[in-house]
Subunit: 398 residues, 4 copies
């Protein structure tokens, strides 16, 4: 008996911090639960530090390492390049990989600027013509509850969409002593809460409703304008330590962003992204109200989808807590019996499952780089609006 | 034994629809639970229809009736005029009553226009110099949970306020066949969801935080532009019937309003008022995030206040469900043992309790007509912003 | 105009502590919201202390006072005797009143012993033949949510009932310094948590299911066996103060009772009544699982009824939060618009409404004294079982 | 670079159905997240069908296969035997493995009879003297929330424990057409809901409180006495199909079990295990009330632990929702940032992590086979009590 039977798909991953760890778990687990057309092989991991990369590869189960992403792309055993680095390097790596004929899975936000995103989307369109595919990693689309919500909308269960209210609330930088990590520096992260977590709710809102934002009005704020300096590689780790006595640096990204807008189908939508919502840890929340039904979701209780069927008699109607763990729910049938919940990492397992299937089937995966570009344009429009007295700003179509 | 011992306060009420019924229950009950300096006496009820007013007075326990509000004001046994009519008549009645030396409790929104509200506020300031008081009936301030939230903010428990997110969600006009009742007609109601329920969340947000909105950006929408005509007196009653086959009229108020803004203390605030949130019945919700703690509330579970104390160790911190039914909570001690909840009407009982105490003590009651005027200016600014591409619009100070 | 038109019903109430206050509010309010065949008149209040009774009557709106319940019964203006005293006096007062031709509303538990309850039930049956009615005040039947649950069971929505799990959890005597109030003394209260709050969940379970308990197995415990002595009249008030340094007395009632049993329709049922559930204030909870649907309720959120419809596809099924505030819900239509909740006191308002209607219609009210006797027999069976190694004990049919 | 550096631990697993799949995921993932003293190697999988086992091994990543568990035990590359079969085979396999010097992880319940469990516990004690360890797989101990609850109790945060109320509610056999799978046959499963899920809540209650049940009173029921026959291997899969028209067989295990009892520290405890709680999917719930604090948990929301601190002022006390995803929580620090939840399978990952560490450190793992025997004795006592009129039955000490 051997596991080497059947086609395989060599994966090369760039970056091994938070995103790299969770992508690794996805690649490691996916073929044990989903019957894939090709079995992913964790071929090589790439990082800047040879020692750090080697240690990470051993812990996470990557067969080889590289310290230059160009060499990773060039490897014969790498068919897919999985980009888990900060946003400032996405464009260069992704375009090179696509041009080299490698499929690309790229973390979000797609890029730090619209221009970069446009170049990436163009490269992806061109590659697709050669059967080489690109996907942007908006993993929350693969929360079973969110996929179920989108399914209901697509089936017409919600009727005409009237309202979307989406929030992504965290509280990890409430403390003014929390240091100036890379996610708080514009040159590396592009923007603050807006791009990091606001991007997720933009994509989620558009994914569930099947509509695009047409115009937005934005308001942003930086509550803590100076923070202790931290090393460039620091992420959002709680053990980064505080920077008492350290030299201070300026926070040049937003701490929070509010924006409202209109969807292509006529709905009103409101968004809030913040890292200052004390007590909220990872509350990606969305409620969609339609003329026939509503759905509500909070990632802090990710196995629950709340559904209100407005067609029922008023005496028995109400939001019901659907545990999205039934065999008939998206992705859920591959896992455990009803009521046995999934966790954060499963969204990535589902993501790579869909990506592998898309590659094998020759059907372009979603969300595409065009979808990523669209989100980038929304983010840019929010920033332009915020800089111009919150004036309603149109989103250019992709 | 007699109940007539001690001072009394004669109440005259104008209007006996929804608001009149709940005000009546407040006046009827208040002195059984609170030890007031003067016992309210339900002296006279005023309505346009003699028969309707008589029937309402008998059912609700008013000792006499009038069909002309001027005569009500003129009655010797009326010391307080309680105005429960639609907004278009507030200014005229309130100003006349104050000038006649009668204390005034006026339903919200204070008026249908800023100009009317300014006249009313001026009349109230003038009357106050003569010991005659006016109060606008933002009853939600007297939900024990909301009052407790305000208390914690005032005590500094929340630290620096960073975010307010407030929503007032209802769903009673989702059906396009729901008729064009007075609340959907600009000439009578002033505005739609914005003025009717948006006014409440503006006041609640400012009350809890102790801060004022300084600027707003708004977006409004009318989803259903034409509805079957209904009688002018129709309220929001579910048994208004639908208007199939009836003549259609134009809805000239908003169905929903989104607005964001800044508070005087530097927080960001977002607001949504809608009658199209399918499945939400009377969801006045507010969450306030401060640097030290957060509170969250939903009127659909009005006896619960959620409190997160950020000073606790992370391992044991979280939003806790405080049942606001303890003797030490605002208003609650007058009622039942812990865990025995109150209902909607109690907010009005608390309101008239505070109003009677204010009158007796000679300390001006809150919310004042100036507070009502301020809310009116916020509403007007939202409308101006919405009409001007959501441009940030400053709120004039009262 | 006069309120004296139409028939009236004179009420005489005995006792003016916690129960007396809430009954008063019910009598005071009921005819403002329900169109009754006779308008209750708060004729006379009876208590042992002349001064205390007079003060209570004035505050609560009773027209006259008595200090001897026999005189209250004898009054011509009293047609209904409302008994709000501790359980040791129920039998004597109720039987005398019924024999005097007065309708009786009696607080629960019906009596402190089965023998007393039997005598009361016999008196009630005899009186009913003369058109004189008795009702035991299991007010929780008149929570709209509980009435709705019973309605669904009666309509067959739940199918075959499989499980009932009922709890009544409080925490007001967790502190060992809490004094030995009357509710903790067997001679006055009959039993502890079992009779005081366990009685409510027995009645509620039987009311919702329409079935009777046929056998029970019980387990009881007194965690704190000695407490500081307190005055005999002390209730459950939080300001009773602690008894540090005071003389100690023995607690001769249960602090908590667990019991399980079978219902006449074949379901299993479990019950827990305790005053030691730290953090639970008035958590009367019940869940009923049927073959077709389930309901779940917690009085701490009394306007919510959770309903699971098992006939729906698994992908969209789940417990839904029904706000029991719709016009079509039991009692709710008399009050406010959807989403505007009711409070504890409303259960009593509904209770007296039903009682007045029963008297006027000549249809015996429920719960009857036979129902009260049945609950008493269940309580006695639990105690016998607990004293006999939890052996399953049959409940004698009424 | 190589992953073969450092010590390894060869795992051999018997059974590859539901439990086998989840154990596989645990072995596959554990060393990527925890820094273990030895890296588990998935050496061999054993099942009765050669083809089925081979397919499962390939899918789940086992390097080799066996069809005779004796051969699995004999393999040099197997140091740990992981038993994932139905309960009737546990004793034979576990004892043989321990005698062969292999560490044993055995699924629960430990055995189908007390006699078998006693033999297993004896074998485990004997093996432990030789440094060979055995552990029973009560995975729910490794839910971070449950481990945190136990930690608080151990730290004295809850004070004197007064109440435990534990339920394990499922609904997967409500349909009378659901077939007679092995879990409904006494010869294979030992008992019904009692042994399958009741065992979990017994262990969880004792684990959290650190106390043992000393006596129990039980009540059991089989609602559906005959079901369509199904293949012997059928588990609880939803796609087992219904058995319309099939031959019927008798259900000789309980559908539901209620039991109450006393804990060694004086608390009252109630338990309910059922597969007929319509709408409850995998609701392992437990609430523990202590004199100083309470905790409440529901596995359907497994990342949340509700905590009430009774030492706080009443005005701000209440059950708080602690997201058990902080670095300081048990196990959680190895995974994702706060608010990014875990799923069902992680409880097994934590279990094998603790087991590997125990083996390496020479400290006996918990729960031990003695713990498993104890649970078996509780189950047997419940059955004896249920057969004897629910009489309180003592639990023999292990």
């Amino acid at each position: 008996m051997s596991q080497s039977d059947g086609p395989t798909l060599g994966i090369g991953m760039v970056g091994y911090a938070f995103m790299g760890r969770v992508h690794s778990q996805a690649w490691r687990s996916v073929s044990a639960f989903f019957d894939l057309p090709a079995r992913p092989v964790m071929a090589a991991l790439c990082g800047r530090s040879a020692d750090g990369t080697a240690a990470a590869a051993e812990q996470m189960g990557w067969a080889a390492t590289e310290t230059d992403w160009r060499k990773l792309i060039a490897r014969d055993d790498v068919a897919v390049v999985d980009i888990c680095t900060p946003g400032d390097s996405h464009a260069e790596i992704a375009i090179a990989a696509l041009e080299a004929g490698k499929h690309v899975l790229c973390e979000k936000p797609l890029a730090n600027t619209v221009a970069e995103a446009e170049a990436m989307a163009a490269a992806a369109r061109s590659a697709a013509e050669r059967g080489v595919y690109a996907m942007v990693a908006f993993n929350y689309r693969r929360v079973p509850a969110i996929a179920q919500a989108a399914r209901w909308v697509a089936e017409g269960r919600l009727g005409a969409i009237r309202h979307v209210r989406a929030q992504y609330l965290q509280d990890w930088i409430v403390d003014p002593e929390f240091p100036l990590v890379w996610r708080l520096r514009k040159e590396l992260a592009g923007s603050g809460a807006l791009g990091d977590i606001g991007a997720h709710i933009i994509d989620t809102a558009q994914f569930i409703t099947g509509q695009r934002l047409t115009q937005v009005s934005g308001l942003t704020e930086t509550f803590i304008t100076h923070r202790p300096l931290a090393g460039v590689s620091a992420g959002l780790s709680a053990d980064t330590g505080n920077g008492s006595g350290a030299e201070m640096g300026e926070v040049d990204v937003d701490d929070a962003a509010l924006f409202v807008g209109r969807l292509s189908g006529g709905a009103l939508a409101s968004f809030e992204a913040t890292r200052f919502a004390t007590g909220r840890k990872n509350a990606l929340r969305i409620e969609v109200n339609g003329s026939k039904a509503s759905v509500a979701f909070d990632f802090e209780a990710m196995n629950e989808l709340w559904f209100h069927d407005h067609a029922l008699p008023a005496e028995e109607a109400g939001f019901r807590r659907v545990l999205v763990t039934e065999a008939g729910h998206p992705y859920a049938g591959a896992w455990w019996p009803p009521g046995h919940g999934l966790g954060y990492e499963h969204t990535f397992t589902h993501e790579v499952k869909d990506f592998v299937e898309a590659i094998a089937s020759g059907i372009a995966p979603a969300p595409s780089f065009d979808d990523g570009l669209n989100v980038q344009r929304v983010l840019a429009a929010v920033e332009r609006s915020a800089a111009d007295q919150s004036r309603l700003t149109a989103i250019e179509e992709v």
